[in-house]
């Protein structure tokens, strides 16, 4: 230590330095909480994610403290530089992680990389500060005061985080705000530590700090637009995953009522009421059939219909034909989705095929063994390539794949919002030589939703469920599903069937839904 340093040391303003310790401690804790919260948002299982991120963070702080011994000279300059680094990394941590989990396949790598980087920077801060202050105080006093302020800062940080910051600012702005505080500390430090810094260094750090303040401030103002996936504004809830596959764009959002899955912008299910949709899709078909052993699922890559199917102990084999392998892989591995579908994709009874359902049925031929139940769960007929899965040709192939006493069930869009489309699908299924029993259920996220049961011989709607203790259906409520009120009932002039060479359903569907 130079004599100049010793002489100048008393002039360093101690109050400002304690404030610095306070801010450093608060922001350090906030970054830690941010990472833990984000990890549990995205990866689910909050206890595990929180404990591992915080453990990693503390460990990284330990690395930072250890590394501080290699800072020999120019302690004040290094401290301010680390402060700038913390401002940048910490301030952008939440926005970067948001982008990371929306687009990166290795979210965990990005997350822990970020946690380790911030932890090291924060871990370096306090030891360096103590070395700057040690010129003024004897060791016992120094440790007591710094650690007191440090722990108070941590307390304030944790209370603020839960009570004010997350509810008022959200994760992104909280992160940007604390980045700005770190930058402000660096700027203030150029004044408080003036005696310890050469003029050129001071100027450089001050300019960088101002630039960071401006940049982070701008990001703070435009946080919503700058850092979220471009399509966030299309969704009511926060996007937690965006995946563009060869076949579709998968978006997962998370809000107060749980997750929602969108394919190409269309809601596929909402956690809060998907059980109504999937119970109504699967169980009436099982109730209409005797013992169901072999099941075919066409579409339904989220695995939620599978979950309901696997509840039936008679089921020995389920074949799922789903076009998009990335959809089923996501449903198999994503923490939130696999919890929702109860790890249906790991069930040994499942045989998974990735193909176009129509081509698969066609190539299967008429002689293969029939299925006792066929569950058809495609997106609505919004395009011709989806519309072909609602044609007479398709249902003829499905009928061919049905065991003699088997039942086909088809999700058939809303009989209320798209009444003629619904009855067009029903007419198409009948046109393929099957007997039908149309029904509907209320799924608040979708509205009134329609289905069609179909069998080779004439049949009455099923009366007795084969499973007890469902959340939505019992025998009495199932009977109600087959009753259509006047505004949803078969129109007096029902549309003709949908054909491969004349896909009237696609036009009808577009016309009806565009009216809403």
């Amino acid at each position: 230590m130079s004599t100049a340093g010793l002489e100048d040391a008393p002039r360093v303003h101690a109050g400002v330095l304690y404030l610095t310790v306070f801010v450093v401690a608060t922001s350090g804790l906030v970054y830690e909480l941010l990472a833990g919260t984000l990890a549990s948002y995205v990866l689910g299982d909050s206890v595990f994610q929180f404990s591992t991120t915080i453990g990693t963070y503390l460990f990284a702080m330990g690395i930072g403290s250890f590394l501080s011994r290699y800072v020999r000279d120019d302690v004040a300059e290094r401290f301010l530089q680390i402060e700038l680094g913390a401002a940048l990394a910490g301030g952008l941590s939440a926005p970067l992680l948001f982008l990371g989990f929306a687009y990166a396949d290795f979210f965990a790598v990005v997350l822990y990389g970020m946690v380790i980087l911030i932890g090291i920077l924060v871990g370096l801060e306090v030891p360096l500060l103590m070395r700057i202050l040690k010129e003024r105080l004897e060791l016992g006093e120094l440790v007591a005061r710094v650690l007191t302020v440090d722990y108070i800062g941590a307390l304030v940080g944790s209370v603020l985080f839960a009570v004010v910051l997350v509810p008022e600012l959200g994760l992104n702005r909280t992160s940007l705000l604390f980045g700005m505080l770190n930058a402000a500390v660096a700027l203030g430090g150029t004044r408080a530590l003036r005696p310890l810094l050469p003029v050129a260094v001071r100027r450089r750090i001050a300019v960088t700090a101002v630039l960071l303040l401006v940049g982070l401030g701008a990001a703070f103002v435009f946080a919503d637009r700058l850092v979220l996936p471009a399509e966030q504004e299309l969704y009511a809830e926060r996007i937690v995953l965006v995946k563009q596959t060869r076949h579709q764009r998968i978006v997962l959002t998370q809000g107060r009522t749980g997750v929602q899955l969108f394919l190409d912008g269309n809601l596929q299910f909402a956690e809060i009421d998907e059980y109504r949709y999937h119970e109504a899709l699967v169980h009436p078909a099982f109730a209409a059939t005797g013992e169901v052993r072999r099941v075919l699922v066409l579409g339904g890559g989220d695995g939620l219909a599978l979950r309901e199917i696997f509840r039936h102990p008679t089921v020995s084999r389920v074949t799922m034909v789903e076009l998009d392998p990335q959809m089923t892989e996501l449903a198999r591995t994503h923490p939130v989705l696999k919890e929702l579908n109860q790890r249906a994709f790991d069930d040994p009874r499942l045989e998974l095929v990735h193909d176009d359902a129509m081509v698969w049925l066609d190539q299967r031929g008429p002689d293969a063994e029939g299925f006792d139940a066929i569950v058809v769960d495609f997106p609505d007929p919004r395009s011709f390539s989806l519309g072909k899965l609602y044609t007479g040709r398709f249902y003829a192939l499905a009928a061919q794949a049905l065991a003699p006493g088997g039942t086909l069930v088809v999700q058939s869009t809303s009989p209320l919002y798209a009444r003629r489309s619904f009855w067009c699908i029903e007419a198409t299924i009948r046109g393929a030589g099957l007997h039908t029993a149309p029904y509907h259920a209320t799924v608040p996220s979708f509205g009134e939703w329609g289905y069609v049961l179909a069998r080779r011989r004439a049949f009455d709607p099923p009366e007795h469920l084969s499973l007890p203790d469902l959340r939505f259906l019992d025998d009495a409520s199932m009977a109600q599903l087959f009753v259509f009120s006047r505004d949803m009932d078969r129109p007096a002039d029902p549309p003709g069937p949908n054909r491969l060479d004349d896909q009237r359903l696609v036009r009808l569907y577009e016309e009806e839904w565009s009216r809403l």
């Binding site: 060869r246 076949h247 176009d356 011709f384 072909k388 007479g392 040709r393 003829a396 491969l500 060479d501």
Partner: protein
Amino acid sequence: MKRRELLHALLGASAAWGCGVREGEPPPPPVAALGGADVERGHRLVRDLDADFESAPEHRVPVAIVGGGPAGLSAAWWLARHDRPFTLFELEDEVGGTSRSGASAVTPYPLGAHYLPLPDAANERLRAFLHHMGALDSRGEPTPTTTVREPDERVFYGGYWYPGLYPYAGASAHDLAQLGRFHRVLDRYAGVRDGAGRPAFALPLARSSMDADLVALDRETGAAWLDRQGFTSPRLRWLCDYACRDDYGLSVDETSAWALLFYWVSRMPAPGEETAPLLTWPEGNGALVGHLRALLRDRVQPGHAVGAVRQDEAGVTLHVSRADGQRMRVRCDRCVLAVPDFVRARLLPGSVSPSPYSAWLVSNLHLADRPAGLGSEPAWDNVLHGSESLGYVSATHQRGRDHGPTVWTHYLPLLREDAREALLEAEPAALADAVAHDLERAHPDLRAHLERVDLWRWGHAMVSPRPGFLEGGRRLQERSAPIGRIHLAHTDLSGVALFEEAFFHGTRAAEEILAAGPHPGEGGAPT
């Protein structure tokens, strides 16, 4: 030939424009196969005209059919249906002519013609054949997978794909008024019946009226007729030009006005009614000739070049040389000559003055995945506005496979003389590059998915219905008349190269032979 010149020759001025803007030329896509008529064999056929066949062994067959295109195969089918023995000789290793097809692990695909409008009730023979191959059910309705799956066509215009063939986007009131008037004119022709009750335009052409006022349309070009009718809308004129290129490989400036109207009206059952639905298969019309080939396999001799046809009082002698160099004389009672005019002129000198032909380049693009495109979703037929090509047909569309690998068949009629030269002279890789360039406008990432291109050169693809081709309405009668014991069957007789014409002439020639009675050596054929 430079890339720009080649693009200009093949695709026209608009396609070549801008090809130099990009820095460096993209590497041409890999070419796996270059196919087309076997030129070497064609030349041998000419040489063998003068060769000594006197010492060659003689084989006797009751009826010989020369040519295994759709006309020859149809003649064979009709004879087989009536239990008449015959042998068919085909120069190439594969029968099928311009309706041939190829196949990859992904899908079969066409090498030439790729659809057939549903024949009307009057075309009983063709409907019987379609029923026999399973394309029509017992009620005469097309089976669900045979009619083109919707969306059947789309057009790339101004950077976007639009549904249908006519580019409605941005069309002015003037354009739409002319389109409406054009449809009314077609409607009026669809209702015309002559004194004998014949429609103005019908398929096959033999059913069309040859009344003088209708035949008068054959004196001018389609473009001149459009001018005279006051049809000036560029979009309508493009549509008519597309129609001529599609069916005849000619521009509307070269096509007979009669043929232009024939294209539209022959497919309209009656005024105001929908145009006949199109029947298609992944391999295009390869499915039609495939069915014929499977039925007739043991009576078809591919790789047999017929070099001369000579007849005397008692019968007909053919000079036949096989691919392995062996020669033989084939002696038959009667013969069906189902070859194009330029071949017939050599086999039977002086019997015909050759007609003009159009040349085509048909390219099959093998794609690992679907290239992206803006606008309406992919259709079966994907037409490029402003290109001299016809765009492409997707071979996987009809089977319902809308994702993953596919084969696109790109059709390029060669309208100018320099295009035909380019077709023969250009390196295959340069031709494939031109095809990719044509499609890149609509699918910028095409080359990223392109695994290989198979090229097929059709030097004499189809007879050209230029003005005057009806020969005053006498063409069909005069050209179709048998020459002694030699019966004629080919689309060249009609002057329009359509499967319906080939089938008509094939079965007609077979019918003539049946009508002439059993040949002397045959002890009474079953009736």
